[in-house]
Symmetry: C2
Subunit: 355 residues, 2 copies
């Protein structure tokens, strides 16, 4: 059995992105949302047409975690789909709600795609949001194999990778890798609120990176955190204890205590997989000094093409008030010499080639 | 009086970058380092020639914080320069060392360029490392105006911006915006060390951002933190208290307590200035779907040039195992329509234009 048609309930960022991804694979999509504006915008983006009833192969509940059980109960009562899944970022709570409301556990496969953007709403949706990303599925003993097959196919159609994990383990995992880090970023950023302007003027890229996610919507995060309260609290308590111990070690001059945390940090950081879950690919970087004028990058890429070098990534660094910038061009390590030579031949200043 | 020649003591990342920046402006550079390999590499990179004695206009001490006082005392005894500065990331300690060792306070202007990279050593040096970055100077009542003028000229030649701040305020500021955030990132990363592989497989970009700086060298950071122990401990205690309070609020279901920290985090995050200290410029992003083949970007930039659109930034997102990627092209908001039209005309798929 394959997913010929699907109902997406909730046309926010995740729901609309699922709809767009499935549409690209030819699946007919029906949409539903209590917010008429969001629904209309998703329709205009080509995500599908409004649902007017009728049975589909698969229903995707892209609603806030605390509404999953309620919507699932209603849809199952309507007989809306052969299989159901949700995309909530916590799993134990929605499953408990569904059980409490008497939902059929056989046709419901709890899920959570690990993808997102800083912006929300259907306008931020993209068909490739899930490409190469992990998508957790939490089937239970009661789960029907046919339903699981349909939901696995959904994940595959979205270009994501299934990670099968029990709901409790899932919630502890996202507390560790997502929810507690968000609160820690908020606490670092909150400390800045009392800093003076001179102090803030000394901020660099490191601080911007550490605190970037702290800009997230407090209302949304309050719901996420409260839906996973105990696992998040456990991780926060460990982080708080490490920070308090390091503060105490600094005050008493116990430098081994400070080094211990720094070393454990290096170890923990090394365990994070690269982008898209794959090992980080090993590119070399060629730096090129650019003048800030139209066509400069076109000339650079033309020169790379003539040298038969494929450019894997580009980062531009602009300097305030200066008519120059530095392009960091990532290429295969074997190609660096040829590219640097070609660029220098065409008159660019290539200060540095590095691995 | 201008900086015609300078002595750079310490040919690591910062010292060699200062030397390269000054050389580009025509200043004659003498180098000194107890590490003969580092010195030779810096020479090979064109940073200058080994110092063999003789008086210069300015000596830049690019040595670890705990060695600044000692080296300053020796150089002043030799009469090596008209003015002296250092680049240590803490200021109260080196100044106290200098006073204790009987250094002349008039010719020494304590300094700290806020720039760095994850890599260290002369091979990572670049002449543009300081472009547009803040560079703290901490003159005292005893500081000679001529010495201050020479050091301000150094900052200007490196393309950086002077921020004048008393040493104690400087140390409190870097504790807030750099040192304590580093320890917090280490604590978040340290919590991962005990996580299982499935948990880590659910990690996303947010976690990578929060923990990126935790990969820094523990030996180097142990010295930085111990040189600024009390200010860092104060900030860490506030962050630890916020995290412990949030954990407690989560366990007791006090959601207002959770929201309070999230809100203060949004506020604090908004106070961080943009890259290079300037307000974040408001660009619009045009997404373009690219095939992964040589010349694709050249064709894209050619099309942009024909449309007379200046490209301000480009980010490439590659998808694992797929022969396509998405380029996010930043341009002035007024230019988005013309660019999207031009790209579509030339056959690209342009799924989204966003602010």
């Amino acid at each position: 059995m394959t997913v010929r048609n699907a109902l997406v309930v909730g046309t926010g960022l995740i729901g609309t992105s699922v709809a767009l991804a499935l549409r690209e694979k030819g699946t007919a999509i029906h949409l539903s949302d209590v917010d008429a504006d969001a629904l209309r915008l998703a329709e205009e983006l080509g995500a599908g047409r409004e649902w007017t009833g009728g049975k589909v192969d698969l229903a995707v509940l892209a609603v806030p975690p605390h509404l999953v059980g309620d919507r699932l109960a209603w849809l199952q009562k309507e007989g809306a789909a052969r299989a159901y899944t949700d995309v909530a970022s916590v799993k134990a709570g929605p499953i408990a709600d569904a059980d409490r409301l008497g939902c059929d556990p056989a046709s419901y496969v709890p899920g959570h795609p690990l993808a997102g953007r800083e912006r929300s709403g259907p306008a931020a949706a993209r068909a490739d949001l899930f490409l190469g990303r992990p998508w957790a599925l939490c089937p239970r003993a009661e789960t029907d194999a046919g339903a699981l097959g349909l939901v696995r196919e959904l994940v595959s159609l979205c270009g994501a990778e299934v990670v099968t994990v029990p709901a409790g383990d899932h919630d502890a995992a996202v507390a560790l890798v997502s929810h507690a880090p968000h609160v820690a970023a908020s606490a670092v950023a909150a400390a800045l609120a009392g800093g003076d302007d001179v102090a803030l003027s000394l901020a660099g890229q490191g601080l911007r990176d550490v605190t970037r996610i702290a800009a997230g919507d407090p209302g949304l995060w309050r719901r996420i955190l409260s839906g996973n309260a105990v696992p998040v609290a456990s991780v926060l308590e460990r982080i708080a204890a490490d920070l308090a111990a390091t503060a105490s070690a600094l005050r008493s001059g116990d430098l081994d205590g400070v080094t211990d945390l720094l070393r454990r940090g290096v170890e923990g950081h090394a365990r994070i997989p690269g982008k898209h879950g794959s090992p980080v690919r090993d590119f070399a970087v060629v730096q090129v000094v650019l003048r800030d004028r139209p066509g400069e990058l076109a000339r650079l890429f033309n020169a790379a093409e003539l040298a038969e070098v494929n450019i894997e990534d580009v980062r531009l660094e602009h300097s305030t008030g200066l008519p120059v910038g530095v392009a960091e061009v990532s290429v295969r390590p074997d190609d660096t010499g040829r590219l640097a030579e070609a660029l220098r031949f065409h008159g660019w200043h290539v200060p540095r080639v590095s691995r």
